[in-house]
């Protein structure tokens, strides 16, 4: 075991982690721990854009942006946080430009903007061009640019270090953050990082589902570690299903395709979104579009031999326009489905995309240990966190914004904290739990295969806790997850070595996924209403009287299950109203 000491340790080198590192690294001794080389992080997969009311191409302001975010999130958004994000969006985009991000440009040389789902002018009047973009690789450019700035500022990275535990020490009756425990993939060695402040920026958990736009490595580690440490997770039942994943594969075709004019059609060639969202049509928020698509398929108007997908039609667009604005995603269609988007419509179906929920934080990215108290020294930002700017459904382009705005805030807050706070003693035997976890799996001679359990988990989640949910399906999912958890206790790996034992790490990740799946399902069962990304067939309406509240899920110590609590939503300007698009 090796021990290291820093002022701030950042876990995760995606957009949120590196944005935080840029702030913190300038002020205090900072280390970034990441299980992937920074440029492999899934922020790089983001395509469409990052929105900010720059008003470079048409009239816009941050207040409209706030409203769209709140309404898009089906009023489960904490409105103070949404306001902060929309306001700081403008500087967040300009900062990135100054760091060198190659945004597409208007003829005048300004940052170009395009339309995106749910972003409107004058509180819903018409779609507005608010998304700043770099072709269809905005996330890639953000990730690259932030990494380049980290190189410039000599940020210290620990690449391929898996953080597996969070350390706390009680000082004067308060649990304070003491550091993290990490596993070095290359050597199999355990490292303890002692730090005054820890920032979690570990990204999403899409691998809970089978069909997903998320990377194999997005296994919700940060959320699960927090849960296991007794911290709550907020609003986990809200998972976003992106309408246009490549059918069967889940690989994402950005909403930018529809922003540039692509149209969804059913097997009859009908532009069915006109029926579901007369004003915004194909550019309605994702939950609405995904549900509409699933409904078309359910009612027998799906395309293909099994009638189980709909079509995304780009054929009326100029090939040169497609090449200029959507080069990458059209290539996905060609490479992976063998479909030529110039002339053929592309088969698409909703794909698990984004976790709206996560570790609850304040607008300064401080992690909450319950409804009101922050955990001293612990911060979170990005998809792992839930400041609650996305509420029940995230608007497209708001996540790249989220990671920049709150990543920055997390870095600033953590550094400020570390400048004042003393180092906390490490707990006794800091790495004991982690070692027990790893050796337990490694030493088990014979047992179930990780891949089998994972596939069963993903299949039940896809079947029972996806776009449409009901009491019956969720109960099924819950009992499946419980059974899988029991079997997980008997899981084993074939690779018993120390170096690059990815077999072992996949087993650990599966444990995280199982914990999170349970939280998602329990939360979804309890929420007997339909709101945003959570749609209950048995309770099809939003119920503001009983459910205008955040879910706070804790791991219950007694039965290793989930205990739920609730937290009010922060409402400032906008009273809940019916969502029409």
């Amino acid at each position: 075991m090796q021990t290291h000491q820093y002022d701030v340790v950042i876990v995760g080198a995606g957009g949120a982690g590196m944005r935080a590192a840029l702030e913190s690294g300038q002020r205090v001794r900072t280390a970034v721990l990441t299980k992937l080389y920074p440029t492999r992080s899934h922020t790089g997969a983001a395509q469409g854009g990052m929105c900010a009311a720059l008003a470079n191409v048409e009239e816009d302001n941050w207040e409209w942006h706030t409203f769209d975010t709140v309404k898009g999130g089906d009023f489960l958004v904490d409105q103070d946080a949404a306001e902060v994000m929309a306001k700081e969006a403008i500087d967040a985009v300009l900062d990135l430009e100054k760091m060198g991000l190659p945004f597409n440009r208007t003829p005048d040389g300004l940052i170009d903007q395009r339309r995106f789902g749910g972003h409107t002018r004058k509180h819903g009047e018409a779609a507005v061009r608010r998304s700043c973009y770099a072709a269809d690789r905005t996330g890639h450019m953000i990730l690259q640019t932030l990494y380049q700035q980290c190189i410039k500022r000599d940020v210290e990275f620990y690449n391929e270090f898996y953080v597996l535990d969070l350390l706390f020490t009680e000082v004067d009756g308060v649990r304070r953050t003491a550091g993290v425990v990490a596993y070095e993939l290359a050597t199999g060695e355990i490292h303890v990082f002692r730090a005054k402040a820890v920032v979690f920026a570990t990204g999403g958990a899409g691998k809970v589902y089978k069909t997903t736009s998320n990377a194999h490595t997005l296994t919700g580690d940060g959320m699960a570690i927090a849960l296991r440490s007794g911290l709550p997770l907020e609003d986990m039942e809200f998972f976003q299903f992106h309408p246009t994943g490549l059918a069967g594969l889940g690989i994402l075709l950005s909403e930018a395709a529809r922003g540039e004019g692509a149209i969804l059609r059913n097997s009859e060639g009908e532009r069915f979104m006109e029926r579901y969202a007369p004003t915004l049509k194909d550019l309605a928020p994702r939950d609405v579009v995904a549900r509409a698509m699933a409904n078309e398929v359910r009612e027998g108007r799906g395309s293909g031999p099994n009638k189980d997908y709909v079509l995304l039609d780009l054929t009326h667009l100029e090939p040169s326009h497609i090449d200029a604005k959507l080069p990458d995603i059209t290539e996905f269609a060609r490479t992976y489905l063998g479909v030529e988007p110039y002339t053929e419509p592309v088969p698409v179906f909703p794909t698990a995309h984004y976790a709206m929920g996560g570790m609850p934080t304040t607008i300064d990215a401080e992690v909450l240990g319950d409804n009101t108290h922050v955990v001293p020294g612990l911060y979170a930002a990005g998809e792992v966190a839930c400041v609650s700017v996305h509420g029940a459904n995230r608007l497209g382009t708001n996540s790249l914004l989220d990671i920049n705005v709150f990543g920055r805030r997390a870095g600033l807050a953590a550094a400020a904290f570390a400048e004042k706070a003393p180092l906390v003693e490490l707990p006794d035997a800091p790495s004991a739990d982690t070692e027990a976890l790893l050796e337990g799996i490694r030493d088990r001679a014979d047992g179930e295969r990780v891949a089998v359990l994972r596939r069963e988990l993903q299949e039940t989640m896809d079947a029972n806790a996806q776009v449409f949910r009901s009491e019956a399906t969720l109960k099924q999912a819950l009992s499946d997850v419980h059974a899988l958890k029991a079997r997980y206790a008997n899981v084993s790996v074939q690779d018993k070595g120390r170096r690059f034992n990815t077999d072992l790490l996949e087993a650990v990740e599966l444990g995280f996924l199982l914990d999170l799946a349970e939280v998602i399902v329990v939360g979804a069962l309890e929420r007997k209403e339909s709101r945003g990304g959570h749609f209950r067939e048995d309770y099809q309406n939003r119920d503001d009287v009983n459910y205008m509240r955040h879910t706070m899920a804790y791991r219950s110590a007694e039965d290793d299950g989930v205990r739920l609590d609730f937290k009010p939503v922060v409402v400032t300007r906008y009273q809940p109203m019916e969502r029409k698009f």
């Binding site: 060198g100 190659p102 940052i111 194999h216 594969l249 293909g304 596939r455 070595g497």
Partner: protein
């Protein structure tokens, strides 16, 4: 992913088939030398080499080790030598390969192999870091964005696509020879800034690449261009840097 593909409606039309993979394995804890190992698996329609590797790892031999993340050619984790050429495993469809003979899969060449298909990427990233891969400007930052015309933006568009997968650098015969050459990726990284109208560090970067192990070592073998999964015209970028050195300063 494998199972998902099996159920894929579009895959319905394409029957499943047998694939034999010939894998170059090396376990630092028990092998002194790399060895070949073959596995035959049943795959379907649009499955990629990555799916086959996963199938082997998940169902046959969990110790098979390789890097991967995004599974759709965007993160740059899984460059490997497939049938003798550098490719991304997640972007190489099995049905596009000749399946009557085994598909050989080996680590990329020129970087030390750590385990199976995993190589030491540090020298590669070090080369990138040494070309100052960040925007260099002088004076105060403007209050709004720096302006840049769409034409100026287009000049370096191609090289912004790089995902640092190292397929290019490790396909370069000059890089294999002694590993001191910066390699095409580092030059691509420099190109992206040298031709950015907002950047003021071109002189310094050109100076770095004028080194003995800089651009002049490129022998225009085009392996890099052929290997690049992002379709970047790598050799063209290198030539533009050479010409910038020749005509702007000399």
């Amino acid at each position: 992913m494998t199972a998902a593909v099996a159920d894929a409606p579009v895959a319905g039309a394409v029957p499943s088939f047998q694939v034999t993979l010939r894998l170059r394995r090396f376990n630092p804890e028990s092998d002194t030398e790399a060895r070949w190992e073959e596995h035959t698996v049943t795959m379907h329609g649009t499955d990629r080499v990555l799916d086959a590797l996963h199938k082997i790892k998940w169902e046959i031999d969990g110790s098979l080790t390789f890097r991967r993340s995004c599974a759709h050619g965007i993160c740059g984790s899984d460059a490997m030598r497939i049938n003798g050429r550098n490719r991304l495993a997640c972007k190489t469809l099995l049905k596009d390969l000749p399946l009557d003979k085994p598909v050989t899969v080996e680590p990329i060449k020129g970087l030390a192999v750590l385990k199976d298909l995993v190589v030491d990427m540090d020298p590669f990233f070090e080369a990138y870091k040494s070309i100052m891969p960040f925007l260099v400007t002088t004076g105060n930052d403007p209050s709004r964005e720096r302006r840049q015309s769409p034409e100026d933006r287009a000049r370096y568009d191609d090289t912004t696509k790089c995902i640092m997968c190292a397929a290019c650098t490790t396909s370069c015969p000059v890089y294999w020879s002694d590993g001191q050459y910066f390699g095409p990726q580092a030059i691509v990284g420099a190109h992206r800034f040298i031709f950015d109208s907002r950047d003021e560090g071109a002189e310094q970067r050109l100076e770095i690449l004028n080194d003995r192990d800089g651009v002049w070592r490129c022998r225009t073998t085009f392996n890099c261009t052929d290997a690049c999964p992002r379709g970047i015209e790598v050799t063209k970028a290198i030539q533009e840097v050479k010409r910038a050195l020749l005509f702007r300063r000399v």
